[in-house]
Symmetry: C2
Subunit: 304 residues, 2 copies
């Protein structure tokens, strides 16, 4: 993985900038030596929660035998000034993206420019997240084969200068298959491949009955969820369409693996124990850690 293509930024204006302030990352081309800080990155893990991304970084340090002495903490590169949490362990960056595609899109734009300015090559992206499942035991991991909008179309729609612009939600099939190949029959959880629907809301757009607003019946909800399930949708979250469309637009390979916290065909509320959910939330990065070791040419390692 030492070789690979540099990051392509399809915006001619960026080349002419004398300074590029990556405002929401609290980084910039003049204030930071981005090539020295980030030039060796090969893998980027993104996920919603800042706290969880710190855990992902610590897990990756363990997976890659990077010693963090007892009493030492990882440095949050954003120092609390950034809108996202940012951790680096060896060739792996772990960065939070908040909830929903607007929050993710800001992070993705600035991440892509960061990788470009740092001169990174051959980078692979992973979203490790949480979601609601459709017809799956809570705690299962879904690797996304296609990301769909709430209209159940593989399209990421934005309004740019007053016009609707649709981008295709393309995820690299090989990366998804390789990640699926990192699942083991000995895992205490199931890993399945399926389509992922991304909504712009947790309640109404996901057909939940328990939001502050709800103008539909349980039958309406079930009809919608079953229609999605019949199309191959196995989980619902809020960012995969954005992740797929934007990473495809800059020709970066990426994969999405999310753990289900609830079976939406059986209910809406997330009532599993905090202990169970803490453990479940580690599962997507288990697969990604195996993928990374394999791609770095390292032998398999038993990890909790």
């Amino acid at each position: 993985m030492a070789s690979g293509s540099p990051i392509h930024i399809p915006n001619p204006h960026v080349q002419g900038m004398t300074e590029d302030v990556l405002y929401h990352l609290a980084l910039g081309t003049n204030s930071h030596d981005l090539p020295s800080m980030f030039g060796d990155l090969k893998f980027v893990c993104v996920g919603g929660s800042p706290r969880r991304m710190e855990k992902v970084a610590l897990y990756m340090a363990d997976a890659l035998d990077i010693d963090i002495p007892t009493g030492m903490a990882l440095n949050n590169i954003g120092h609390g000034k950034a809108r996202y949490a940012i951790y680096k362990v060896g060739p792996v960056l772990a960065i939070s993206h908040g909830m929903g595609r607007p929050s993710m899109s800001i992070m993705m734009h600035e991440l892509f420019k960061l990788l470009h300015h740092a001169g990174c090559t051959g980078v692979t992206l992973f979203r490790v997240g949480t979601c609601g499942g459709l017809g799956l035991e809570p705690g299962s991991v879904v690797v996304t084969e296609e990301a769909l909008s709430p209209l159940l179309q593989p399209s990421y729609d934005q309004i740019i200068l007053g016009n609707v612009v649709s981008r295709p939600c393309v995820l690299d099939k090989d990366t998804a298959n390789d990640l699926m190949g990192c699942a083991s029959t000995e895992d205490e959880f199931a890993t399945v491949k399926g389509k992922t629907m991304s909504a712009d809301d947790f309640y109404e757009e996901q057909g939940r009955l328990d939001g502050a607003l709800c103008n539909y019946t349980e039958d309406d909800k079930m009809a919608y969820l079953k229609r999605a399930h019949d199309l191959g949708v196995r989980n619902i979250e809020m960012e995969a369409v954005c992740f797929a469309a934007l990473s495809h637009a800059v020709q970066l390979k990426g994969a999405v693996a999310c753990v289900t916290l609830v079976d939406r065909l059986k209910g809406d509320q997330i009532t599993s124990s905090a202990k169970d959910m803490e453990e479940w939330q580690m599962r997507p990065q288990k697969l990604v850690a195996r993928y990374i070791r394999k791609n770095l040419g390292l032998p398999p390692k038993d990890m909790p």
Copy 2:
């Protein structure tokens, strides 16, 4: 303000729930005594950044003469488990909403249910945020008179069960006017009333030239921003449409006050000094603190 209407939750399903887990707030009806914790709330301030909302809470404590002894810190009610930062000082709640309308909508659904379960009455909401301005000196405060989508329509569109549902973005005119009335000619900044456009992205949907992707020219950008300016738009952010539509849907009064960090008619990058921006970001809550003191029947107080 001791009287007022209880919070109306227009979802019949909520009444029948034996437990309501407000998952992203890390609160619940069975795990927490919500009426005792929150029943006396009269004002809720929401804003994007968790760190800034802690500052808002400390500022409100000072404004309301609520003593926080040196060495004591405010309690983040979410204890790091919630996806949002939550602080309470007397009758004021300060809560973060992250970036973009999906993240805000989750918080709003759960906030409305929290206020309902807690039995709150006569609550007024404020969004205190940051934004890009149109034709204004950076550091100016814009009080929103109408929130518009990137199509420049006063409409909040969601896809619910596969259908587009449009809700009107209605903000209470009296609250906006009263907040405008809290500005003083002695303030070191201008406060103006104007329309606010909410985009689902910081870069392309706001016509910036400095994102990772950009398929338009500077002339295209300026034509769009000038069209918005001609319609009365004075600032661009990412949440006002959601704030307006959802608070109107539950019949809660709300107002939006945001400080401009850049004049988008002159540039895209946010390059003001960190010190200036720290000070500017306090300005919206200056107005809100004056509003709250006035509505509590307290005399004006000199505040930094």
